[in-house]
């Protein structure tokens, strides 16, 4: 084993008496080892597949994806697309997937905001602010997420009053069945507002480009932030008011034991969203802190030597460099949040795992198809994320010298 490294293929082939035994040639040995590995793994897979087919036959479980078009026959309390009990199992997959996306996206937005605030607060030179932030981080990231979900759901939201004794504010009702709020109903003229919003967004892009060019040419700075705010929020608002406010509110009303009309946010969603946000924010805060700390102190000194004011040092020097360190672990946290949203099944929020890998699996008994479809969803999400991350790292590392 020890002497074979200097006798590989690069040595001239004109030494017939020093013929290497084939099991001492690293190349051949690697080949033999890999063939053996493939054989063993193949055998194992064959063993499992044949057992599974046997077992399925004995238990009378059908295989294949035909069940997706059968009628599901169970209700789902929250659905972003049309869904009734008469919809198919395939439809339950879509509904569950969309609910997962809903809670993940809203959780990601809230956790990012909270996490950035906490991460910056952790570095504040105000002792109280940094201590409180550290307290938050250390408490919430060391407690299992499932426990936090249970706490919000069973200990907090279950303590709310029944629909008849709802807490009432601003036309909304808070009770054990959730938060019933007035729902906006758009009238025909509302499309103008959407158009205004689109115009505002496009305008912001054009304006930003123009402002950059002008600054490069003349050195004059244009108030980009305020102008974009005016374009994206102000313009649609103006159009909305000028066109005579084409929107009404549908207020919830108590009928019998429950509220009708308006829109209701179910408590399962609130508990899951709160727990995901609070838990992930603690991790994001640590990521942000690490990113900011990774900017060398010399950069700050260089910025102040150039005479940049504090806000622009932050915006032009610290944040772009910190972001390079923050983004990869941040995407990882987003992925974790999305995967963690599968804990919904413990409190019955109708996400992909709860609806599809739970109810649908129990009703059809087709474990293999259902579990592999569920896993494939999460897997493709994580593959997409890692593709994005590789792309981002490549782009950013070009800038670095």
């Amino acid at each position: 084993m020890a002497s074979d490294t200097n006798q590989n293929s690069s040595s001239p082939p004109s030494e017939p008496e020093h013929k290497i035994k084939f099991w001492n040639d690293p190349g051949k040995r690697a080949l033999i080892f890999q063939v053996l590995l493939v054989l063993v793994l193949g055998g194992f897979v064959w063993f499992i597949v044949s057992n599974t087919l046997n077992n399925l036959e004995q238990r009378g479980i059908t295989t294949g994806f035909d069940f997706l078009s059968q009628e599901a026959g169970f209700g789902i309390p929250l659905s972003l697309v049309e869904y009734t009990e008469a919809s198919s199992y395939g439809r339950t997959f879509i509904v569950g997937l969309l609910n997962t996306v809903l809670v993940s996206v809203l959780g990601i937005i809230a956790a990012t905001i909270l996490g950035f605030i906490l991460g910056v607060a952790r570095l504040s030179d105000n002792w109280l602010i940094s201590r409180l932030s550290a307290l938050y981080i250390e408490i919430f990231r060391n407690i299992p997420l499932l426990l936090q979900i249970f706490f919000w759901y069973f200990a907090v939201l279950r303590a709310l009053p029944s629909p008849r004794d709802s807490i009432e504010f601003l036309g909304s009702f808070l009770n054990i069945r959730g938060l019933s709020m007035p729902a906006p109903v758009t009238e025909p003229g509302f499309n103008l507002v959407w158009i205004a919003l689109a115009v505002g967004i496009v305008g912001t892009f054009v304006m930003t480009k123009w402002a950059h060019k002008r600054q490069d040419a003349t050195g004059k700075i244009f108030p980009v932030g305020w102008t974009s705010l005016g374009l994206i929020i102000g313009l649609p608002l103006l159009v909305f008011l000028l066109s005579g406010a084409p929107m009404t509110l549908d207020y919830p009303e108590l009928r019998g034991f429950n509220f009708r009309g308006g829109m209701t946010i179910i408590p399962e969603f609130v508990a899951l969203w709160l727990a995901l946000t609070i838990y992930t924010a603690a991790f994001i805060a640590e990521t942000v802190r690490g990113g900011i700390l990774s900017v060398p102190h010399g950069q700050l000194e260089a910025a102040s030597a150039l005479g940049l004011p504090k806000t622009r040092t932050l915006r032009l020097i610290v944040i772009p460099q910190a972001m390079r360190v923050i983004i990869p672990p941040l995407t990882n946290q987003y992925l974790n949040l999305t995967k963690n949203s599968s804990l919904a099944t413990a409190i019955g929020y109708p996400d992909l795992v709860s609806v599809f890998a739970g109810t649908t699996l129990n009703q059809t008994g087709q474990a293999i198809e259902v579990i592999s479809m569920t896993m494939a969803v999460y897997l493709s999400l994580s593959v997409l994320t890692s593709i994005f991350m590789n792309w981002y790292n490549k782009r950013k590392s070009l800038i670095e010298r």
Binding site: D125, N142, I143, L146, S382
Partner: protein
Amino acid sequence: MKYELQPTLPPPANTIGVIGWARKHLFNGPLNSIATLFLAWLAFTLLTPLFDWAFFSADWAGTTREDCTSGGACWVFVGQRIEQFLYGFYPREETWRLDLSFFLMLALILWLAIPKIPAKGIAAVLTLVVFPVVAFFLLTGGAFGLEAVDTHQWGGLSLTLVLAVVGMVASLPLGILLALGRRSEMPIVKSLSVVYIEVWRGVPLITVLFMASVMLPLFFPEGMSFDKLLRALIGITLFQTAYMAEVVRGGLQAIPKGQYEAADSLGLGYWQKMILIILPQALKMMIPGVVNTFIALFKDTSLVLIIGLFDLLAIVQAATNDPKWIGYATEGYVFVALVFWIFCFSMSRYSQYLEKRLQTGHGNRA
């Protein structure tokens, strides 16, 4: 005129001591002062009722819910159920076996964790090889005159620890093998390792546990049956192995290339090179990472309640639904949170301490 040297004046009173500290850290500037006052008020108004609930007006002694009269936390609930929370349904006269295994493990971990105690190699072998065997016989019984205890009687904190420790001990060697596979030059070995790692890291633990509990029985011949605990353990190990492999890979990558080349030039074969040169250095570097994944695993063990095992969280959850104690869910959750928090916080502090100790001073953080 005085020409002799004067004693130095003391610093201004408002720059030293408590006042100076407060000026510097709490009230430097109007905005900061407002923030400090607001946060202090907020913390005070939020924390006083909390402390009052948890300590001052809480009920500590008693046996039934009738003893909880003061309106604060009812710790009687936790006190009455503490044995069940710790040992699950393990026979009461046999719980010394759980205690013994726990203290054995604690002793071994302290041996490993405290830098001053020598002979880490022996401790590592005892922890990773001898202890699991001893603990297995202690916990399951059925040999050496110990009464057999079926795994469905296991529960509570002891089950949580069993899940976490077994997941850890089993995944470490497998993770090392996978990480070596991922860095191998053999294309098939490498791609198989990459696929394994990425697949398990890409899916949530719940789906893995679902898979282990629903699909595993389908995979094996009719007569072969696994109990629920074993299925959960298989799922957890498969999952944890992938994460462990990534930690090990990080450690392997941190070893300078010169070490590999030096081992090659000494004429060491692959396994000699890895076992004698690379892994000892890499393993030391990756201890913080291993501790961090262990913390994640420890928290994740609570998910087994979804497939019907009674770990600490599940057993408390079940107890809060007991009609005798309904309405005391918060106390139960706070207790579980405290237990998990103590374990996780101390481990994360230890990992931070190690990181600092292993840091040889090349980072750009001052």
